[in-house]
Symmetry: C2
Subunit: 216 residues, 2 copies
Amino acid sequence: MPSANLTPRSDTVVRRILDAAAEIFAREGYAGARMDEIARVAQVNKAMLYYHVGDKTALYEQVLHSALQRNRAIIQDAIDHETTGERKLQALITTITELATTTPHLPRLMLRELACGGTEIPDAVVSDMAAIFTMLRTILADGQATERFRHSNPLMVHLMIVGGIMVMTSGASLGDRVAAQAGIPEVAEGLVSAEAMARQMCDTFLHGILRQKENA
Amino acid sequence: MPSANLTPRSDTVVRRILDAAAEIFAREGYAGARMDEIARVAQVNKAMLYYHVGDKTALYEQVLHSALQRNRAIIQDAIDHETTGERKLQALITTITELATTTPHLPRLMLRELACGGTEIPDAVVSDMAAIFTMLRTILADGQATERFRHSNPLMVHLMIVGGIMVMTSGASLGDRVAAQAGIPEVAEGLVSAEAMARQMCDTFLHGILRQKENA
DNA sequence: GTCTATATACCGATAGAC
DNA sequence: GTCTATCGGTATATAGAC
C-alpha cells in the first residue's frame, strides 16, 4: 500500500479514481466492473490505478466507505438544524432522498450489497451505517418519550425507510416501464423529482395510508 | 433453442437448472455467476445445460420470469380471499413478505436489477411486475373511493412497500452487524421472522409513525 | 440426448524499462 | 511516478465422439 492517505483531496488522482470506480461498480456490479474501464474513465493508466489504490477489492471498499462517510455527515447536519422529532424525521427522509438522487451511485452499490447479504462489507462501512441508524433510533426513542410517536422496531423502520428510498430513486426507469405496461404512465412522472418522492415518503411514513376515522 | 417448452414440469432437468440458477444468480449476480457452478448444483453436465436452456442470458430471463409469474398468482389469490380494502392491503404486504422469506432468491435478483436500472429486464417480466402493481393500485383506488384511504401516488407506494420488504428480508445479516455496532443487538432479532416483519410493515404503512393527536 | 475436450476471449495483476 | 507489454488464470460456449 504505497499511499496510506486516508483523506484524499478533492482533485487528486485518487479522487478521480474513486469517482470513476463508484460509477462503474454501481452500473456493472463488483464482478462485472472492469479495472480497464475504471482506469479509462478516471483517465489514469491501469498500472497507476493499482499503484495508488491497491487491488480491486481494496478499491471497492474505499469507494463504499468514502461515499457513506460523506452522507453520514450531511444527514447528521440536516437533523441537527431541526428542533422537533417530527421535523427531524422529515429532514432525515428528505435529506437521504436528495442524496440518493444527486449521487445515485451509493444506493445502487448498497442494493447490490444487500443482494449478497452484506457479508463482505468491511467494518468501517458497517460503522457508518450504524451511525446513520443511530440517528433514526434516537429520533424515534425521543419521539416516543416526549412526542406523539408510536412504538416500533427502529431497525425495521430504518430498513423500510432507506429501502423505500433506494428502490424508489433507483427504480425510476423500471417504474416507467411498469406504469406504461399497467396503463397509467402518468404516475411515473413523479419519480424524476426528489421533492415529489420525499413528500410522498414523509406523508406515508409519518401518517400511513389509512385516513383517521375522525377525518373520514 | 431446442426446447421451446414454456411450462416445464416440476421435476424435469429444466426445473432443476432453473432452481440452481436462481440460487447462484441471486448469490453472485449475473456477471459473478459461473455456468460451471450452476451445472454442478443442478447436477447436469455443462453441455446439457446449454443444450436445454440456451446461453447465459436466456437462462437468466427464464429464472426471473418463472419466479415472478409464480409469485404473481400467489399474491392475487391471497387478495381475492379478503373483502375489505384494509384487509386486502394487509394480505398483499403479508403475502409478499412471506414469499420474500421462503423464497429469497427473487428479491435478491430484483435488488440487483434495480441497481442496473432494470433496463435489461425483458417485457414478459415487466408485465408480471405491472400485474402485481395493478393489484395494489386497485386496492388504493377502491379504498380512496369507498373506505378511509388517503390519497397517494400508487407507484411510489408500491415501490416503498416492495422496496421495504426486499431490503428488510435481504438485509437480515447486515442488520445484525449494524444493530450490534449501534449497541442494540436485540432489535435485529425480529428480522428472522416473516410474521414480525409483516406486522411492523403493516403497522407502519397503514398507520404511520406518528400517533393520532386524539390518542396522545 | 450425453459427455469430454477444447477453442477463444477476456480479465486481474505485475514485471521491468524509463 | 509513469507506462508498455505480458503472464497466468479463468470464463463462456461449442465441436465432435458416442
